[in-house]
């Protein structure tokens, strides 16, 4: 598992990237991130929802209630146009950071 300090910085990118392929509810977002990163990144409820609410306040994602297969209502989130616009520079920013870290500390060969 990645340390929580590093993970916190990547959280926004992770959530926005997962939502890029369609709308998902909170639990699904957390599981999808965990699966796609082979368990390196995992979000607990306590970490995930405050961030989802914050991203929603920033109008990067939008939530709407839908009814799940078990009849329970669940809130599904999708990327807004602003969120889509934000994703590309965010990716570039992280990419630059990784390149810089690679040069500095040989992260790739670590």
């Amino acid at each position: 598992m990645i340390a929580s300090g590093i993970k916190r910085g990547t959280a926004e990118l992770a959530v926005l990237s997962v939502l890029e392929n369609g709308s998902r509810h909170g639990y699904e977002i957390a599981r999808r991130i965990e699966q796609q990163t082979n368990g390196s990144l995992g979000f607990t409820l306590a970490a995930l929802y405050p961030m989802l609410y914050r991203l929603e306040m920033q109008k990067l994602i939008r939530g709407s209630w839908e009814t799940g297969p078990n009849g329970r209502r669940r809130r599904c989130y999708r990327l807004t146009a602003e969120g889509k616009r934000k994703l590309s520079p965010l990716r570039k920013e992280w990419s630059r950071l990784f390149v810089a870290l690679r040069k500095l500390a040989g992260v790739v060969n670590a």
Binding site: Y27, T44, L45, P50, R75
Partner: protein, 231 residues
């Protein structure tokens, strides 16, 4: 299966959300816990164990309440920037001005005999020295307030040196402008006098305020270390 809605509602009692928002948050978080629980049960885990594991999603409900309030734009009475910087900054500014007025009014000048001292400089110097001597206390108070609100060192020292900014603005901006428009000022102000003015109204008060703040932080750190050691 536990009543997740009831459980989450109970954990979130006291959260600063309106009824509609509270109901939405409770339903959403309860849904997450229920789904986690169901998945664990599908993996063959016992109900008790599944409940325990689902609950591990939240280490501290108190922290979660604060995070949700903050993420939904519910700021406390004073937000961080106000409590860490603006409040201590304006308080130290106000107190430093009050101290200056008090020293001018009731300070040593009234008790110095012009016959035994320099006719012009000494009373002013005495007033100034008394004022500067009071500033470390004010700096310490500002540092205490800013530090208590969780302000980092940079913000603490910015807040406690705030009272010198009006003087700094006067010396750096006001005086040159006055020199442009007033011949008396232009003729009367030499470079050494400018340096003395700058030192007296900017450097010395800033150092006095920082000294108070530094002492308090140093003392607080030491007593914190002793407490940890004591525990």
């Amino acid at each position: 299966m536990p009543d997740w809605n009831e459980f989450v509602r109970h954990q979130l009692v006291g959260i600063e959300l309106n009824q509609g928002e509270m109901a939405d948050v409770v339903e959403e978080l309860a849904g997450h816990l229920e789904e986690a629980f169901r998945n664990l049960r599908c993996q063959g885990i016992t109900e008790q164990e599944a409940v325990q594991r689902a609950l591990q999603e939240v280490r501290s409900w108190q922290e979660l309440r604060v995070s949700i309030e903050s993420s939904r734009g519910r700021e406390p009475f004073m937000n961080k920037r106000v409590s860490q910087f603006w409040f201590p900054a304006f308080l130290t500014l106000f107190l430093s001005q009050v101290a200056l007025m008090v020293v001018q009014e009731f300070g040593p000048r009234n008790y110095l005999s012009p016959a035994t001292s320099h006719p012009r400089m000494l009373p002013q110097t005495a007033v100034f020295a008394a004022w500067v001597a009071a500033l470390p206390l004010i700096g310490a108070l500002g540092a205490y307030l800013s530090g208590r609100a969780g302000g980092p060192a940079k913000l603490v020292f910015s807040a406690i040196t705030f009272p010198v900014f009006p003087f700094l603005a006067f010396v750096v901006i006001g005086l040159p402008i006055a020199m442009l428009f007033d011949d008396h000022v232009a003729r009367g102000l030499s470079f050494p006098l400018f340096l003395v003015t700058f030192s007296a109204w900017v450097v010395c008060p800033a150092l006095a305020l920082v000294a108070g703040g530094w002492f308090l932080r140093h003392f607080a750190k030491r007593s914190g270390r002793q407490n940890i050691a004591g525990n």
